[in-house]
């Protein structure tokens, strides 16, 4: 027993040093994706196999004059290399492209950024070419230029400039990757966004669960809560200024709104009953939550500014969760009123409730795609798998095939689904992303175990 206790203390001591190392995590090498068999494409899947072979060369961003910058110990020249590395990792990790990063490419002279040496790059076999520059002005502000060229056509496809504070240099790289991704895929961008999730440490029977946030690629990781009270199921507000989440602060499960600017928090609603499963409306004006009264759980909504909650479901049993359609007029949620967990849709005022999932097994944690065309959910039939269906309940399609995958959350562009995976026996959890074909699955780097990911929108 003493040994177990020591092991427990050791485990509990682990997160701090790990967290310290997490300031700029190296992007993970592409995972050998053990993809499930292809379940067939639908019209909403835009992944063309042709794109998968598209080579993109991303040499280091040039700098006119190598100047010191707080963004990099090596000055703006080293920062130019780091920016190209971040872009390379972004584009590699979504399975559409074959990017080649700066470590394998010759440097670009500053004057060549707007006028590439096309024959030389064609000779290397590049199809797409990224050039860019980064310069620090007198005040230290970073000016970043990002360009995409079609080598064969000798044509410029993207030209964009941003100004960022040194601390936000990775955002410049994500913005550039977003431009390239959007131009080549025809999809909306998503790299310049953030993720809230639950960081987990410790043994299965005494797991510490803390609220944490990070960039979409795992960088700029930060723990928000200490772990003294168990935290679960966070959701970023659309403006990133707040996070709603469940906390067992003072021993009882209730929903708090955490203010990411002031680092303070408040209760969503004063109630002696347990409240959980919080969600935002797309405009950030409403918070959905579930409340158990006696043995029954129902869904409520309350103005994010506070006020009197309104009960949306009134059936005996468990009605829980909820996710708004992108236009805010409908809510998809789960209910066991039919005898087992199934997915239902209702109008935003609670009227017109109807079941939409009619396949075998149980269907849980529905999340409406930001594009409106699909609902991601957890399908439970022995194992738990991530699946999508249409808002009418048709076209069930599995995206993952593992022992326990749950709690899907959409990338801001509705093209990638993030979820968490639990290992049998150990109970260890990890964050994963999968694209809509189900073929490109990868693990998101986190300093400790992770669950309940929630993806916020693209930053302005």
């Amino acid at each position: 027993m003493n040994l177990r206790l020591i092991a427990l203390m050791l485990t509990a001591a682990l997160p701090a040093p790990l967290a310290a190392q997490q300031i700029t995590p190296a992007p993970l090498a592409p995972q050998a994706a053990t993809s499930p068999p292809d379940e067939g494409l639908t019209g909403s899947v835009s992944d063309d196999s042709a794109w998968r072979d598209l080579g993109i060369d991303i040499p280091a961003f040039a700098t006119e004059q190598d100047k010191p910058t707080p963004a990099s110990a090596g000055g703006t020249a080293a920062l130019g290399n780091a920016i190209a590395e971040v872009i390379t990792a972004d584009l590699r990790n979504n399975g559409l492209f074959k990017p080649v990063g700066p470590s394998a490419l010759p440097p670009v002279a500053y004057p060549q950024v707007p006028a590439p040496d096309f024959p030389a790059w064609a000779g290397r076999g590049a199809e797409m070419l990224v050039h860019g520059s980064v310069n620090a002005d007198a005040a230290g502000q970073l000016a970043v230029d990002c360009r995409l060229y079609d080598v064969a056509l000798k044509q410029q496809l993207v030209a964009a400039q941003w100004s960022f504070a040194p601390a936000d240099w990775r955002r410049a790289a994500h913005k550039c990757a977003d431009k390239i991704y959007a131009r080549l895929s025809g999809e909306s961008p998503f790299f310049d966004s953030r993720i809230a999730y639950i960081a987990e440490t410790g043994p299965k029977d005494h797991r510490m669960k803390r609220l944490a946030i990070m960039d979409s690629d795992g960088a700029n990781h930060r723990f928000i809560t200490t772990g003294q009270a168990m935290a679960l199921t966070p959701r970023y507000s659309p403006d990133y200024k707040s996070i709603v989440y469940l906390s067992y602060l003072n021993g009882y499960p209730r929903i708090f709104v955490y203010d990411t600017v002031r680092n303070s928090q408040r209760l969503v609603t004063e109630s002696r009953n347990p409240t959980f499963a919080p969600r935002w409306s797309p405009d950030g004006k409403w918070i959905l939550y579930s409340m158990a009264v006696g043995g029954n759980t129902n869904i409520y909504r309350v103005s994010a500014a506070g006020g009197e909650p309104q009960q949306l479901t009134q059936t005996p049993g468990i009605n829980v969760g909820g996710s708004y359609s992108p236009d805010g007029t409908k809510i998809v949620f789960e209910s066991d009123r039919s005898g087992s967990q199934q997915v239902y849709v209702m109008n935003a005022d609670g009227s017109g409730q109807r079941r939409i999932s009619f396949f075998g097994g149980r269907a849980a944690t529905p999340e409406w795609s930001p594009r409106g065309d699909l609902i991601a959910f957890t399908h439970i039939a022995g194992d738990l798998r991530i699946a999508v269906m249409s808002p009418e309940g048709g076209g069930l399609r599995y995206l993952t095939n593992s022992w326990q995958d749950e709690a899907p959350t959409w990338a801001p562009n509705g093209r990638i689904v993030q979820f968490f995976r639990t290992e049998a026996n150990s109970g260890k959890t990890s964050l994963w992303q999968v694209d809509l074909t189900g073929r490109n699955e990868r693990r998101l780097p986190t300093p400790v175990d992770g669950s309940d990911p929630a993806w916020g929108p693209v930053l302005p």
Binding site: M1, P203, K204, D205, H206, R207, K209, Q228, A229, M230, L232, T233, L246, Y248, N250, G251, Y252, P253, P274, F276, A277, S290, A292, G294, G295, N296, T297, I318, V320, G321, E334, D336, S340, Q341, A364, T365, T378, I380, L384, W403, Q404, E406, A407, T422, A424, N425, G427, S451, D452
Partner: protein
Amino acid sequence: MSHPIRFTALALAMALVAGCASKAPKELPPEPGPAVSTTTPQPTLQGPVPGSQADFQATMMGKDTIYFDTDKYNIDEADAAALRTQAGWLARYPAKRATVEGHADERGTRDYNLALGQRRANAAKDYLVSLGIDAARLSTISYGKERPVALGSNEEAWAKNRRAVTVTID
């Protein structure tokens, strides 16, 4: 003459009881810190303080916990027997309050399991109330699937984790 030896044996037995008690996960406070207090008072030579949580546990001999089938929350015959035993103790100590903790196994989604644990805790509470225990003495809390006692990923472990545990408040 034999007193010192008897004394040592008794102290050892007490230490063992205390040790085992603190090992049981349901005995752990919900969170480190100022959460619900379910600490065990120091046992005396006479055994657990009558009316304490330690006494409740020692008297229940496992009947402080009832078990449920997958996705179910009904009180079966074995549950009813255990709850009658609990009610007997609670009737003996009318000043004591108790919390019923509801739990689910790991094979479900997090939000739903929180609701399911609440439903199970509530079912146990309702039954205790039907046996004459004042509802004001009983509170409920759900930990969903977050606090397993059996750590395997198999039917046997899941059956042990689908439970409602009554913890008296010292």
